[in-house]
C-alpha cells in the first residue's frame, strides 16, 4: 500500500503550549485510521495542521510525498484532503444541495465570464454539478432533503451532509472529526455503515472519535494522543490493553481496577464477539477510580 500521509516530528506551538508535540505518524492508502485521546489532547489541532488551517511550527507533513505544512486550505483541498468539523460547519442558510455543490468547487472550473454569457460549457458543467451533488446526497441517504436549508436538518442529517460535502470534492483522504458525536445508537450504527461505504469507494479515512464502539469497530489502526504527544499506536486490540492508554483515560492505578471490573460491569457489551467497549467502561469506572484514593 502506498504511503499517503507522513508526519515527521510535527509540532504545533501556541505561545508556551505545545498543542501537538513531536508527533510522527503515517497513513497508508485504503486504511481507516483513528485518532483518539482525551479532550484537549491535540487531535483537532492535528487535523487543522493537515488541512492548512494551522502551519506546523516544527516538523514535516507530507501528502503523497508532497509537503503540505503551511499550504493554504483550498490548495490542500484540491490536493485531495477534505474534512468535516467537530462543531458542524455547514453553510447553514444554503440548501443541502448547494452545500454539496460547494464541495464540487475544486472539480469545476466555470469562470465569471462563462457565468455571464452562459456558455454551453458553463451550462453543461452546472447541470453536471447538480446531478453529482444529488448523487452525493443520495449516497449519504439525504436524497429526499436536497432543498432543505442545512440548518433545518436534524442533527444526524447535518453530520451526514457534512460528509457528503467533503466527499463531493472526490478526496483521496477524508478527515472525520467526531462524526458520531451527539448521535443516538441507531444513527451511530448507520454512520458506521456509511464510513464503510466511503472506504469501499477507495477513500482513505482518518477519524477522530470518542465513541470507542465506533473506533474499535471501524479502525484498522489507532493512534493515541495525550497532551499533544503520541502515547500509543497499534491495532484496536493492542490499544485496548495498552497500560499507557488506560492511564491517560482513567488516571494512574486504574489498570488493576479495570481488570477487576471486567467480570461484572453492567455496561459490558453482550458477548457477541464485538470489540470491547472501552469508552463506556471508562466513564463508569473513572468515577470509581477517582473516588478510590480518597476513601483509602
Amino acid at each position: 500500500m502506498a504511503r499517503l500521509v507522513d508526519a515527521q516530528h510535527a509540532t504545533m506551538q501556541f505561545g508556551g503550549l505545545k498543542a501537538v508535540n513531536d508527533v510522527t505518524l503515517h497513513i497508508d492508502e485504503g486504511e481507516i485510521v483513528a485518532l483518539i485521546g482525551p479532550n484537549g489532547a491535540g487531535k483537532t489541532t492535528l487535523f487543522n495542521m493537515l488541512t492548512g488551517i494551522y502551519t506546523p511550527t516544527e516538523g514535516q507533513l507530507t501528502f503523497r510525498g508532497e509537503p503540505v505544512g503551511g499550504k493554504k486550505p483550498h490548495v490542500i483541498a484540491k490536493l485531495g484532503i477534505t474534512r468535516t468539523f467537530q462543531n458542524i460547519r455547514l453553510f447553514q442558510n444554503m440548501s443541502a444541495l448547494e452545500n454539496v455543490m460547494i464541495g464540487r468547487h475544486t472539480r469545476t472550473k466555470a469562470t465569471a465570464i462563462g457565468a455571464v454569457f452562459r456558455t454551453p460549457r458553463f451550462k453543461a458543467e452546472e447541470a453536471k454539478t447538480v446531478d453529482e451533488a444529488y448523487e452525493g446526497l443520495k449516497f449519504v441517504g439525504l436524497g429526499g432533503k436536497a432543498n432543505e436549508l442545512a440548518k433545518n436538518l436534524p442533527y444526524g442529517d447535518q453530520r451526514r451532509l457534512e460528509i457528503a460535502r467533503a466527499l463531493a470534492a472526490e478526496p483521496t483522504l477524508l478527515l472525520l472529526d467526531e462524526p458520531a458525536a451527539g448521535m443516538n445508537p441507531q444513527e451511530t450504527k448507520a454512520l458506521n455503515g456509511l464510513v464503510r461505504k466511503v472506504r469501499a469507494l477507495g477513500v482513505t479515512i482518518l477519524l477522530i472519535e470518542h465513541d470507542m464502539k465506533v473506533v474499535m469497530d471501524l479502525a484498522d489502526r489507532i493512534y493515541v494522543l495525550d497532551f499533544g504527544e503520541l502515547i500509543a499506536q497499534g491495532v484496536p486490540a493492542e490499544i485496548q490493553r495498552n497500560p499507557k492508554v488506560i492511564e491517560a483515560y482513567l488516571g494512574s492505578g486504574a489498570e488493576a481496577l479495570l481488570a477487576a471490573s471486567k467480570n461484572g460491569s453492567p455496561l459490558d457489551p453482550p458477548a457477541t464477539g464485538a470489540p470491547r467497549d472501552v469508552a463506556s467502561e471508562t466513564t463508569t469506572d473513572a468515577t470509581a477510580a477517582e473516588e478510590e484514593p480518597t476513601n483509602g
Partner: protein, 405 residues
Amino acid sequence: MAASKTDINAKAAAGRGTPLKIALWVLLAIGLIVTPLVFEGYGWLFVPHIMALIGLYVMLALGLNIVVGFAGLLDLGYIAFYAIGAYAGVIVGAWAFQHAPQLGPWIYFLMIPVAALAAAATGIILGTPVLRLRGDYLAIVTLGFGEIVRIIITNNPFGITNGAAGLPRAGQFIPTPFGLTWLQNNVYVPIPALGKSFVLQFDNNIYWFYVIVLLCLLTIFVVRRLDQSRLGRSWAALREDEVAASSMGVSITQTKLWAFSLGALWGGIAGLTFANFQQFVSPESFTFMESVFVVCTIVIGGMGSIPGAIVGAIIIQGLPAFIQGLAAAGKLPGIDPGVATVIANYRFLVFGLFMVVMMAWRPQGLLPSKRRAAELKPELDEIADVESEQLYDAQHDAAHPGIDE
C-alpha cells in the same frame, strides 16, 4: 428523491413565463418608457431628473450588493469607485476628444469600458491589502479608502483632477452623446388631447434616464447570472463560513477579489454616467455620506436582493429628491420654494428614524433575498424561543424549588 429533483426543474420553468408575468413585464417596460415623457410633457421637468438619479442609485446599490449582500464584506467606501469611474472617464474622455474630435458623440460610450476597468482595478488594489480583515475592521478600512480617494482628488494630483473646482475646467466641456442634440431639436409635438399644455418633447434628463435604465437592466442581467453560478455560490459560502469554504477548496483571496472588482465595476460605470449626466464632476459628490446612503439603500431594500435594491433606491434617493423638487417648483402648498434645500436636510433625520425602525421590525429589509431572509429572521425567532423557554424554566424552578433534587 426523484420528485424533489423535478421540483427544481419545475420551479425553473415556472420562473420563465406565465402569460400574466409577461404581461406585467410589458406593462412595466411601457411604464418606464412613458412616465418620464408624461411628466416632461406637463412641465414637471424635475421628475425625469430624479428618475435618472434613482437609476444611478439602483446601479450603485446593485454593485455594492455584490460585495455586501453576496460576499458579506461590509464596504463603507463604495462611493470611491463611483468617483474613480467619473474622473477616469472624464479625464480620458477629454484626452480622446482633444486628439480625435470626430469621436465626440461616441466618447461617453467609448469611456464605459475605461471607467469600468479603472474602477475594477482600483477594487483589486483596495481588496488586496484588506483580504485578511472582516466585519468592523474591513468597514473601517474601506471607509478610510473612500475618504483617501476623495481627498486625493481634491488635492489635484499632477494637475489632472482640477481639485475642488471639479471637471471639466472652465472653457472645456463634456461632449454631448450621440443623438441627444437631434432629439432635443426635433421632438416637439404638442398633444392637445392630453391637456392644453401637453407637449411631447425630449431633453437631457429623459435621454439619460433611458441610458441609465438600459445600464440598470444590464447590471441586473449580469449580477443575477453571477449570483447563480459557481462564483456566486462561493461568495455565499464565504459569507456563511470562511473556514468551511476554504476547506472545501474555495480560494478566499480570489473569491474576495472577484467580489471587490466586479462590485467596483458597476460603481465605475455609474460614476461615468453621473458625470456625463450632470456635465460636471467635483469631489463634493463623493463624500462619506454618499457611501452611507448606498449602504442604507441595500439594507432597507434587503441585502442580496435585486428588487430590494430598486425599492431602496426609490426610498433613499427618490423620495427626498421628489419632495425637494415639489417644494422648489412651488407645488407643495404653503411651503416657500426658497426653503426647499432646508426640507431636503430633514432627510437625515427621517432616514435615521427609518433605519432604527427597520432594524427593530424588519432587519432583513423590505424585499429580502430568500437566503438572506432565512439568515436573519428565523434566527431571531429561535433566540426568542430559547429565551422564553429559559424564562419559563426559571419561573418554573422558582415556583417549585428543589424539584431537581
